[in-house]
């Protein structure tokens, strides 16, 4: 059995996080991904940390290695006519051109490239990740993660009332746009089986925030004018739905049905004061006096570690869980038993390689490939460009 996407050929002209993550979703499943990089400096993520041993260098970026392991690197100067021509020729031999752009001028370049490719090679799928789409009123604007989360109404729900709202951590818009571009490209390849034709796949990092992440918040705002606002470390429409300080860190407390809360109060904590009528209506508690209930629970939590509380809750089928820090997750017994983290060999074959997240899902018959090393800048230029002629 071969990996799921074996046989698909992708040309990636993308930079940073979003486009390269889309390419990773192909490369890790056996597709041939040829990555076009600018000469000398390459993909800008080569210049981002985290670096191996905090030692910066074009071949030492852990982020680059994670995103680009298993791809081929071809350096082409796309601003020269000859370079551009050899790039378009390469695209002609591919199934998918994967591209991302961050500014108005880059979007314009991509639009003309799409026209050229679709005219000369109508079977090629062109997947474009751009700030606000390939057409429409906002194509000239540039934007960053902070913009996409804000426009997508995620930011407004995070943070304390009265203080500035918060963007989700790291750079989730990029990964997410990449994942969307990967799926949408596959959709276009399925369509091509019927139509014989490629098409434009148009993805903005705003799209996913503005659609699939819009749950009851948007629906309630529109249908019932009930607006979700940020409320610090809790949600105020039910209790418990918050973070609570234990002896050695925070616990995440959620009970979505009354029985879970009842079991926690009676079987886990066993405090008769909490069995009073006043502490039964979870909606009322959440809206009107969550701090009062917190105060009653605080001594019990402060006297116990997160793992003690987690074990007690598991035994009682109460879904509270520890808020883990990154180092704790890195040594999580669940992830270890499923071999979630994998080792990516270093570009020059030295050292122990890079530990990083592996496959996001397990396919029983055609699993993700064990990662191969990331390409050195321009490593495959001669091989690929000669092969294209």
């Amino acid at each position: 059995m071969k990996a799921a996407l074996t046989g698909i050929r992708v040309v990636e002209v993308a930079d940073g996080l979003a486009g390269p993550f889309a390419g990773k979703c192909f490369a890790a499943q056996g597709a041939e991904v040829v990555k076009i990089e600018r000469p000398v400096t390459g993909d800008r993520s080569r210049s981002f940390g985290p670096f191996l041993g905090d030692d910066a260098g074009l071949e030492r970026s852990g982020l680059f290695a994670y995103l680009n392991a298993g791809k081929k690197s071809v350096t082409i100067d796309l601003t020269s006519d000859r370079g551009y021509e050899s790039f378009v020729d390469l695209v002609g031999s591919a199934d998918v051109l994967l591209a991302d752009s961050r500014s108005g001028s880059e979007v314009r370049w991509l639009c003309s490239t799409y026209e050229e490719v679709s005219r000369r090679f109508p079977g090629v799928v062109v997947a474009a990740i751009t700030p606000f789409g390939m057409s429409g009123r906002l194509t000239e604007l540039s934007a960053h993660d902070v913009d996409f989360c804000a426009l997508g109404t995620i930011t407004a729900t995070i943070g304390e009332p009265g203080r500035e709202p918060l963007t989700p951590p790291l750079e989730m818009s990029g990964y997410q746009a990449g994942l969307c571009a990967a799926s949408a490209s596959l959709l276009a390849l399925f369509a091509r089986r019927r139509t014989g034709a490629g098409q434009l796949v148009d993805v903005s990092p705003l799209d996913a925030w503005a659609t699939v992440h819009q749950g009851s918040g948007l629906m309630n705002a529109l249908a019932f004018s009930s607006v979700t606002v940020r409320a610090g470390n809790r949600r105020r429409d039910a209790y418990p739905f918050h973070l609570m300080a234990a002896k050695d860190g925070l616990m995440c407390m959620i009970a979505r049905d009354g029985n879970q809360w009842k079991r926690f109060v009676q079987d886990v904590v066993g405090d008769p004061a909490l069995s009073a009528e006043r502490y039964r209506d979870r909606r009322k508690m959440g809206i009107d006096y969550p701090e009062e209930v917190d105060a009653l629970l605080a001594p019990w939590f402060c006297a116990r570690t997160r793992s003690e509380i987690f074990a007690l809750c598991r035994a009682a089928h109460v879904p509270f869980s520890p808020v883990r820090t990154i180092d704790e997750v890195a040594s999580c017994e669940q992830l270890a038993s499923r071999d979630f983290f994998v080792t990516i060999p270093n570009a020059d074959g030295s050292g122990n390689g890079l530990r990083a997240p592996g496959a996001p899902y397990r396919l029983s018959a055609t699993p993700w490939l064990a990662p191969s090393r990331p390409p050195r800048l321009g490593e495959h230029t001669a091989e690929v460009l000669v092969g294209a002629r």
Partner: protein
């Protein structure tokens, strides 16, 4: 509404899932033209049917057929009601599996096996079936039995430890249900990959998706930094490594905010000319990214005092006109007044929901130029297609259907 042919036209999906992540995979497949049959039961209703319904003038309409979130997650599907715990129910489901390409389920690990519908059973029925199982922590392993909600999963995965103001304890983003929505996106990608493998290599397979692992994937930078350099990230407010000023700034009025992102020295020059005459414009140290990061706290404080003098939308428009990346921080629901969201198809209107007037749901998170994707109608009424689908696909006669109905199997 999106037209007849879609990229997944001809693909048939049996959607046994409920609540959020699983139904979202089915919804995205229905948007792309797949026929998605939702198996559900009045005995154990999808939780999102139990939300607040919109009002209607149609007296025959059931409240659980009028919940906006249910429509968002199940638009364009068919509904077959079967009580999976009733005698004979699993045999009917197996007949439907025989004519399906994909099965989606997000019961707790082991439940499908106990119902007699585990992957090994289903592959006997249809050797190349693709079964997507979605769970909080995965189908096996020491924590696979942990009861999970989206925010307990993101807590276990480390995400919540990164959300908060710099130097303060984490406050998390519990309300976002991030793990479930992300599960919808990863689940779909897994199914599409497996369908491709089936078409090319003739194999079916089981997909085991752990929401925790999907979330960890999005935190790759954090794990790499820890594994290679021993650094443990924590809350950092709105800061980002790529530059300053970068983040959320106040505007005039109550709870009004905008974003500004300057990530290069060229963007800084643009920002300075857009905000002409302010003290930062002439400061030589601020001309480099290193200098701005060094003085980040004071600089962003000063810029906040400047932005607080302006109306949010006025300042955003000015900054954008000058070429600075800036956006309003929209409150939940505020985006419906921005026509870009409608033009882009991020929001869509359903106009035939149970006499309840218009219901707004979200569109697909991508655009395809020639085979458009997007919602193909409202969500089904509970059991709306039971007889139609069971006679067509399970080969049941009217008499057999009457008997099953009388026995309570089709509830």
């Amino acid at each position: 509404m999106t037209g007849e042919f879609g990229p997944l036209s001809g693909i048939r999906v049996l959607d046994l899932s409920w609540v959020l992540a699983g139904p979202l995979v089915g919804r995205l497949m229905a948007d792309a033209g797949a026929e998605v049959v939702k198996i559900e039961s009045a005995e154990r209703m999808d939780n999102t049917r139990l939300g607040r319904p919109v009002a209607t003038t149609d007296e025959g309409s059931q409240p659980y057929d009028r919940v906006p979130l249910f429509h968002a997650l199940n638009a364009g599907k068919k509904s077959v009601s079967i009580n999976l715990r009733a005698d004979g129910a699993t045999e009917i489901v197996k007949r439907l599996v025989a004519t399906s390409d994909v099965v989606i389920e997000n019961f707790a690990p082991g439940v499908l096996d106990r119902l007699g519908l585990g992957y090994e059973v289903l592959r006997e029925v249809k050797p190349d079936i693709i079964v997507l199982s979605m769970s909080g922590t995965g189908a096996d392993g020491p924590l696979s039995d942990v009861p999970a909600y989206a925010a307990t999963v993101t807590s276990l995965a480390g995400l919540e430890s990164l959300v908060g103001y710099a130097t303060e304890p984490p406050i998390g983003m519990l309300g976002a249900n991030f793990a479930d929505s992300l599960g919808g996106l990863f689940g779909l990608h897994a199914v599409l990959s497996a369908l491709w493998a089936r078409d090319e290599q003739g194999v079916g397979q089981h997909i085991d998706y752990s929401e925790m692992e999907g979330v960890c994937t999005f935190l790759a930078e954090g794990f790499i930094d820890y594994f290679t350099n021993g650094r443990v990230l924590g809350p950092s407010g709105n800061s980002h490594r790529t530059g300053s000023p970068y983040g959320v700034f106040p505007a005039t009025g109550e709870d009004a905010w905008l974003t500004i992102g300057v990530t290069s020295d060229e963007e800084w020059v643009t920002f300075c000319s857009a905000t002409g005459g302010e003290s930062w414009g002439e400061d030589p140290e601020l001309k480099t990214i290193e200098g701005r990061l060094r003085r980040k706290v004071q600089l962003e404080h000063d810029i906040g005092r400047y932005t607080a003098r302006y109306e949010r939308d006025v300042l955003v428009a000015e900054l954008r006109r000058a070429g600075v990346a800036a956006s309003p921080v929209y409150a939940v629901g505020e985006q419906v007044d921005d026509r870009y969201f409608w033009e882009r198809g991020l929001l869509e209107r359903l106009d035939d929901v149970e006499g309840a007037g218009e219901v707004v749901i979200y569109g697909s998170p991508w655009k395809l130029s020639d085979t458009p994707v997007g919602p193909r109608g409202r969500a089904p009424r509970l059991g709306e297609h039971t007889r139609n689908v069971l006679s067509r696909d399970a080969g049941l006669s009217d008499g057999e259907l009457d008997d099953l109905d009388a026995a309570g199997v089709l509830r």
